[in-house]
Amino acid sequence: MIAYLDNAATTKVSESVRDIMVDALYVNFGNPSSMHRKGMEAERYIKDAKESIAKLLKAEPKEIVFTSGGTESNNMALIGTALAYQRSGKHIITTQFEHPSVHNPLIALEDFGFRVSFVPVDQNGKVIEEALLNEICDDTILVSIMYVNNEVGAIQDIAKLSKLVKEKKPDVLFHTDAIQSFGKFKIFPKKEGIDLMSVSGHKFHGPKGAGFLYIKDKVKVKPIIHGGGQQKGYRSGTENVPAIAGLYQAISEIYENHEDKINHLYDLKTHMIEGLQQIPEVVVNAVFKEREDLSLSERVRFTAPHLVSASFQGIRSEVLLHALEDREIYVSSGSACASNHPSLSGSLMAIGVEKGLLDSTLRFSFSVNTKMEEIDYTLEVLNEIVPMLRRYTRK
């Protein structure tokens, strides 16, 4: 049996996504900027995608800019607004456990005279509101807080945070990295007070290299890629039409029977956690410890539906990962985007995971296609190999 439990890293595209991409690549292959009919056919994919995304977000098509994915969306949002609003101030607030594609552009902005404040989170991964509000000052132009954390699955109450921020300083822009939440939740940026929102296609069965940035009307973003002025100058370069077509198809599928899909994910998650709790010395991270009066299946509803982070005392995550791989179970150690680096996970440290467990943490993540049997199989294998691997630790 194969258990692919690394869906927070990437998901498989559906057949219809593949088919529409082949069409856009091979049949309607024109350049959307060309004046002739072939160009118009290609442009149609982009127009349709924009319209359907806008409808879904209850936004306007002109508020959508296609990008190469999450990293570019985050860079465009942060660097673009910082450059556009630097005359109003040079202070930006974010959290201590953002993805590197938010953290690193902000660090880069520090070289250009911007000041960045990193707000702490609690053990559930929730932003500490008071700390956030304390940081806001006259110079603050932007707040960036991720919707769902990619390593531990904590959800932020973005609507509430944005409201609090804007009550204190109305002209502060609010950006959210929604890469792990889009497709899991229905998000309406206007209602939640979001000015900018980053989305990546391959996290919900779209292609890699496709994503978008929602930019609220009237919000100014300086482009970081200059050229022929495509996408109203926000992002020059011939649009990646096949990827945008695939993204559109994936988006139109992910919200079909959405409630059932999410319930399925929460069932998988609950079952996985119950199983993990049977294994001695395994700590499940960010399971909303505040509400221990509630049952597990109620408590998981306060966290992201698709991922479980767990620490295995005494086993290095890399070793456990490869031992699982041997049995065709595919997972991540910490976060996939950072797991090639020897540095330890910032998210795990931010939620206060014990030092000795930082290097012993795995992430199991599901998709709507994940079957309950895959979870059972994974738990069975874990029960078998964890005691074996624990016999050999550094002494």
Binding site: R316, E318, V319, L320, L321, H322, A323, L324, E325, D326, N340, H341, P342, L389, R391, Y392, R394, K395
Partner: protein, 391 residues
């Protein structure tokens, strides 16, 4: 501009009656390295190797390929003159000097070689006539026969050739002239350099890598394959033996004191590598050890490791500093791959305080704890090894 290369070698020239063996090996190795780049004519004549290039050859690529052939000390790009008429030769040599040196002043000496003994002008005369012609054509030049800044060499055979510039080759001896040895290749910085250095002495290399899944990853193994591929550009194709070491390592872990884990593990690695080496008709083992670099490379540890082998163990890095080793690995192109952060089986089971002054008799006594199963495990490891040919 250039149509050929004259290849110079130093050490081979000192050989006696079996010199032709080395020269032929050098020729074969040059041919092997250039074959991928096109149809080159490689010939051996009068104490050197001559490479004639196809019309569409890439100069830089060819020089780079030649600079990876051990045995070569100098590479002279040569102009081929398709005539032996003295007037043509003069004209072409003059054009070459103008093109190559611009019109800068320097001192020179003309050297002549008359391979075609029928040629009417004798060597000393070629030198003086050519010198006079060049002085006449380029008044800024002057002759210095004792310590010239540049030698301009003219050779007359069935065609005429001119060269003056010599690029450095890697030196050493042509691969294939020095027998065969087994390199213990890890994913680190040192062992690829060690393999490179022994290969430079003409030794053909095979390699053994110890893989410990799931403790070491597929990527760690791929990294070793990549390293072998990088050094194979110098050494020729490498047969890489991948030995699954997990069960042996776990068994040692279970049965032996943890401070001695690394030493005992290394002793078994040497034993296994020697056993494969014997089967492959290798005459020695090669390791990347350097005195004092880590606990397992103190003199006491090296002695304890060495005691399991009867074959000579070559340790070309033994007296080098880390920085010197890094410099070589950067030069030969292995450094960037070596520093990729994947666990290898030497690091994953390390004790917190490994013994640095092991006593052989104590180690041997503790190894008796392994007697029940170890032979069987070693046999399985040998039998199940995977062999990959890397080129």
């Amino acid at each position: 501009m250039y149509k050929a290369f004259l290849i110079k070698y130093a050490e081979i020239g000192l050989k006696g009656k079996n010199r032709h063996i080395f020269e032929n090996a050098l020729k074969d190795q040059i041919r092997f390295n250039l074959n991928k780049l096109g149809n080159f004519e490689v010939s051996r004549e009068q104490g050197r190797v001559f490479v004639e290039c196809p019309d569409d050859f890439d100069y830089d690529e060819t020089v780079a390929a030649l600079q990876r052939v051990f045995g070569i000390t100098g590479i002279s790009p040569v102009i081929v003159i398709n005539s032996t008429d003295w007037e043509d030769i003069k004209q072409e040599v003059g054009d070459y000097v103008e093109k190559f040196y611009g019109r800068k002043p320097f001192t020179f000496k003309v050297e002549a070689k008359r391979g075609n003994k029928q040629y009417p002008i004798q060597s000393p005369e070629i030198c003086s006539k050519m010198g006079a012609y060049l002085l006449d054509r380029f008044p800024e030049l002057s002759v210095d026969v004792h310590t010239p800044q540049e030698y301009i060499t003219v050779e007359v055979r069935n065609k005429a050739y001119v060269y003056s510039n010599t690029l450095k080759g890697p030196g050493g001896m042509p691969v294939g002239t020095g027998g065969k040895a087994m390199l213990l290749l890890s994913g680190g910085i040192d062992s690829p350099v060690a393999g490179y250095m022994i290969s430079k002495r003409g030794v053909t290399i095979e390699a053994t890598y110890f893989h410990a899944p799931p403790y070491t990853s597929e990527r760690a193994k791929q990294k070793v394959v990549d390293l072998a591929k990088i050094i194979s550009a110098y050494t020729g194709p490498i047969k890489l033996h991948v030995v699954n070491f997990t069960d042996i390592q776990l068994y040692i872990y279970e049965k032996c004191p943890h401070e001695e884990l690394t030493i005992i593990m290394r002793r078994y690695m040497m034993k296994i590598a020697e056993s494969i080496a014997n089967r492959s008709k290798c005459l020695g083992l090669i390791t990347g050890e350097s005195i004092g670099q880590v606990a397992s490379q103190t003199m006491q540890s090296l002695a304890a490791t060495n005691a399991v082998c009867t074959m000579p163990v070559y340790r070309p890095l033994i007296g080098m500093d880390k920085q010197e080793i890094i410099d070589i690995s950067e030069r030969i192109g292995t450094f960037e791959t070596s520093v990729l952060p994947f666990e290898d089986c030497c690091t994953i089971f390390v004790a917190k305080h490994p013994v640095t002054r092991p006593i052989l008799s104590v180690i041997e006594k503790n190894e008796l704890n392994l007697s029940e199963k170890i032979d069987e495990l070693v046999k399985t490891a040998l039998e199940t090894r995977e062999v990959i040919t890397v080129k």
